[in-house]
């Protein structure tokens, strides 16, 4: 058990405020042979610079950049070491300094964290964060093995070469302790598939019924195919800047008031128990009846300590007292339905053991108290891993700038990706978002970041 000392839980601080200026995406596909990774990153960057009503020209923008952060999960997927160097050159930032960040599925979140640190310290004033993943070079079975090589190769990877099975171990235990009806889990998938129907960027949209999700085949019990995220090709770009630069570029930048990271052992097996780390909206009393004979451990296999750490730091950094009350929008890393419920608890939407209520109460829906994953998430829209955490924040930014319709509803955007805007299209613009949160998460909760964006 790690014993926290006074330095371990220090609340992070930015020396200078950090702003989010613009974002850009590609569409996401299972295979994308038409475009190489450099093209995809250029496309996302150009959307960020050319389609966000910036007050500076692309040429002026290029003269403002002074540091670049690259975000790619797996070199072996793209079969190109130092792909970031190549992309850095192709998108025209050579010879500026750059850094590539890698923290598994949370790589996107961690990359934005690294960029925010650069801006907050005064090291840089204008930092594009460029993320992508190319997961179409190998068959799915090899892709699963590549992802599982991010598990422990000595003691775990050989056991299935399949990350879904490792999540399923946690899911099975979570279900044993908390008995969430499969209908509730299916509702999460249905919600995110439906949201993806209204996104021109989405890879896997669909109108599914709870019954259809319940009846589809198991990947690894208790996770069914429709409850697992996609494997994607695509890119995403987010531009961060200091205050002066941000307002030179746009009249309505958003403020990144917190972005914090936590970790937990790569092997779920090695997670020792400890007292629950309490969020601002919890007290010792919250958990006085939590522990039972069946549910005697924390974080055990049911909770992601990394997510709890990230939320603990970010909430305290941004002064969030109660996430449901204080956030108007949430993007979670819905890699699997059950891991989404686990995350609801880790980030304090409900106390541990009661995550299902966030769905069952209707809170998570577009007309609920905290609309969650209007982007379509990882289940419906994309999981081009290095781009994912960035994609979430791009969608959050557009929502906060009231630009969701601009980026999703215009028929030309659908046509750009060879799609037709659906006849039953509906706007998922959340009105008047003042404060939003996004969670970026890596395999069985080994890394998690929690970002909080606010209207300045």
């Amino acid at each position: 058990m790690i014993k926290f000392g006074p330095g371990n839980l220090r609340i992070p601080r930015f020396e200078k405020p950090v702003y989010v200026v613009a974002g850009g995406l590609t569409d996401y596909r299972k295979r994308y042979p038409e475009k190489n990774s450099s093209q995809l990153c250029t496309e996302a960057l150009r959307m960020a610079v050319e389609e966000n009503d910036l007050k500076v020209s692309p040429e002026e923008f290029r003269r403002m950049v002074n540091w670049v952060v690259y975000s790619q999960f797996a070199d072996h997927f793209g079969d190109q070491l130092l792909a970031a160097s190549k992309i850095h050159d192709y998108i025209g930032f050579d010879p500026l300094g750059n850094i590539e960040v890698k923290t598994g599925g949370a790589t996107g979140g961690s990359s934005v964290l690294a960029a925010a640190q650069a801006v907050a310290s005064g090291y840089a004033t204008c930092v594009p964060v460029v993320g992508w993943e190319r997961m179409d070079e190998v068959p799915t079975k090899v892709g699963n093995a590549y992802i599982a090589s991010a598990a422990c190769k000595d003691f775990e990877s050989e056991l299935g070469w399949m990350y879904a099975a490792y999540y399923a171990l946690m899911a099975q235990r979570y279900q044993h302790e908390n008995k969430v009806p499969r209908e509730t889990l299916a509702k999460i998938a249905c919600k995110n598939y439906e949201h993806a129907c209204y996104s021109p960027y989405s890879q896997n949209p669909g109108h599914y019924t709870v019954e259809q999700v319940l009846e589809n085949d198991m990947v690894a019990d208790p996770l069914s195919f429709l409850e697992c995220c996609v494997m994607s090709v695509g890119a995403a770009v987010l531009i961060l800047a200091d205050e002066e630069t941000a307002y030179r570029m746009t009249d309505n930048p958003m403020k990144l008031t917190a972005i914090c990271g936590g970790t937990h052992t790569l092997r779920t097996a090695d997670r020792r128990n400890m007292p629950i780390l309490l969020l601002p909206n919890e007290t010792e009393d919250t958990y006085k009846d939590y522990f039972t004979e069946e549910r005697s451990e924390w974080p055990g296999f049911s909770s992601f300590l990394a997510a709890r750490m990230a939320a603990y730091l970010a909430y305290n950094m941004a002064g969030v007292a109660d996430p449901i009350e204080d956030f108007d929008l949430l993007e979670t890393h819905d890699a699997f339905t059950i891991s989404d419920v686990q995350t609801y608890e880790d980030i304090g939407l409900r106390p541990y053991g009661r995550g299902r209520e966030f769905i069952d109460s209707g809170d998570a829906y577009m007309d609920g108290r905290l609309p969650t994953n209007p982007s379509g998430g990882l289940i419906g829209t994309m999981h081009a891993v290095g781009a994912t955490g960035i994609f979430q924040l791009v969608e959050v930014l557009w929502q906060m700038q009231n630009k969701w319709d601009h980026f999703h509803a215009e028929p030309e955007r659908w046509a750009r990706y060879g799609k037709t805007k659906p006849e039953d299209f509906r706007s998922l613009q959340v009105p008047n978002v003042k404060r939003a949160c996004a969670i970026s998460h890596a395999g069985t909760g080994s890394h998690v970041t929690c970002s909080i964006m606010e209207k300045p």
Binding site: E158, M162, A165, L169
Partner: protein, 157 residues
């Protein structure tokens, strides 16, 4: 003298956009380092864990998977035989494994709780249907060892 190619070709999967197949076929030399004794002991049907040798260290329990240094105090660990009977903490069944998987499917993965061990080792159930709380005992693949974690499995106790 003209340069000659070796005559191999990359199969063209698609002309426009051009997509070719790159072949990869080589081995990795995997070193277990200080963890090697764990795998060697499996051949003798022994389940070896490690324990911190620092009397001041608060973690008195065994680590399995083993560690060479204590993560809490960085002291050396000693090898200690772990119990070969435990209970299933949780399970999931692999139906669609990744490409290199070497066992038959469906293959039930289990996390095993062992008395006096601070971790919950991931392994697989070689026989029977897994259930949470079920007692299991270790079995060892010594005939044709894979020299991997697959040489350890469990059966109902």
């Amino acid at each position: 003298m003209a340069i000659e190619l070796d005559g191999t070709t990359a199969e063209v999967l698609n002309r426009d956009p051009l997509v070719i197949k790159n072949l990869k076929n080589w081995h990795h030399i995997h070193s277990y380092g200080g963890w090697g004794q764990f795998f060697t002991a499996l051949l003798d049907k022994k389940l070896m864990a490690t324990r911190c040798t620092n009397p001041e260290c608060e973690e008195k329990r065994l680590w399995l998977p083993p560690r060479c240094e204590c993560p809490d105090c960085w002291h050396e660990m000693e090898w200690v035989e772990a119990p070969q009977v435990g209970t299933i903490l949780t399970h999931s069944t692999v139906l669609y494994p990744g490409a290199p998987f070497r066992a038959t499917i469906p293959c039930p993965l289990i996390s095993v709780e062992l008395e006096g061990v601070c971790t919950k080792l991931m392994s697989y159930l070689k026989e029977g249907k897994p259930e949470i709380g079920m007692p299991v005992k270790a079995v060892f693949n010594t005939e044709k060892p894979t020299n991997t974690i697959l040489d350890l499995a469990w059966v109902p106790a």
